[in-house]
């Protein structure tokens, strides 16, 4: 299982959104995640990598193993060097819209995964999501 890691993908174009979510799904399958959790995680990665591309001007996606309370999981870290999220609390609220009325989809993505952390300042935004087996 460790031979799958580390995985680091660049987010430079729209195809990279697809590569990242396919890679995450591939790893989730190898780890024995069920179809529903595979899809949740891949969908969240799709949302966040799109944000990194469209709002962050591009970035990177890292996939690493993680552990919590004795449970194995997958952690995906999506970074960009864009202008950042001005008000994270606001961005995490349902119904908050910026770009073309869609918002960042953060509350939606957060509902799909087991854990999400956000750090953002002008020049650097880091989104961390985690999904655990048998949560």
């Amino acid at each position: 299982m460790d031979s799958l890691f580390p995985v680091r993908l660049d987010i430079l174009a729209q195809v990279d959104i697809i590569f990242c979510r396919q890679k995450v799904r591939e790893i989730a399958v190898a780890w024995g995640f069920g179809l529903a959790d595979q899809t949740r995680l891949a969908t969240a990665v799709s949302e966040l990598t799109r944000n990194a591309l469209e709002h962050g001007g591009g970035g990177s996606c890292q996939i690493v193993p993680c552990q919590k309370n004795g449970r194995d999981g997958i952690r995906v870290v999506i970074e960009d060097n864009g202008p950042g999220i001005a008000d994270i609390a606001q961005a995490l609220q349902d119904g908050y819209s910026t770009h073309r009325g869609m918002g960042l989809g953060l509350p939606a993505a957060k509902r799909l995964v087991h854990g999400m952390d956000i750090e953002s300042r002008p020049g650097r935004t880091v989104l961390l999501i985690e999904m655990f087996l048998n949560n």
Binding site: Q22, R25, S46, R50, A108, R111
Partner: protein
């Protein structure tokens, strides 16, 4: 990638392929609306059975396509939504609002035909 749009009677049938880029998705939407217009379609079936995930962008493309088609006077049915896609859409809160759905293409066609015939006041069908 150009998505194929076929016509059967007055109904356009199209299947969204897996892993369409955002650009291709926008082109698909534009092509579909163009086809409804030029081929005078009364109904549209959008089959999404190839999609192993639908994120908020694709959900919006599908939703907007259905709304726009409706404005052009066409009935729209989306069919083939995979169960894992249904789950994530509901959990995200991005369910396809206001779009009629069917389990598969056969049922979608039944619905479209029933809707388009009833609108024409087709007496033959009783």
């Amino acid at each position: 990638m150009k998505v194929a749009i076929m016509k059967l009677g007055d109904v356009l049938i199209t299947a969204i392929p897996v892993d369409l880029t955002d650009e291709d998705a926008v082109m698909f939407q534009s092509d579909l609306l163009g086809e409804i217009n030029t081929r005078d379609a009364k109904g549209v079936i959008i089959d999404i059975s190839a999609l192993d995930l639908v994120d908020s962008y694709m959900a919006r493309i599908i939703n907007d396509s259905a709304t726009m088609a409706g404005l052009l006077g066409a009935e729209v049915v989306v069919c083939g939504m995979q169960p894992q896609v249904t789950i994530t859409l509901i959990e995200m809160g991005r369910e396809l609002l206001g779009v009629d759905t069917a389990l598969n293409l056969d049922l979608a066609m039944e619905i479209i035909l029933a809707k388009t015939h009833s609108e024409r006041g087709d007496q033959r069908d009783g």
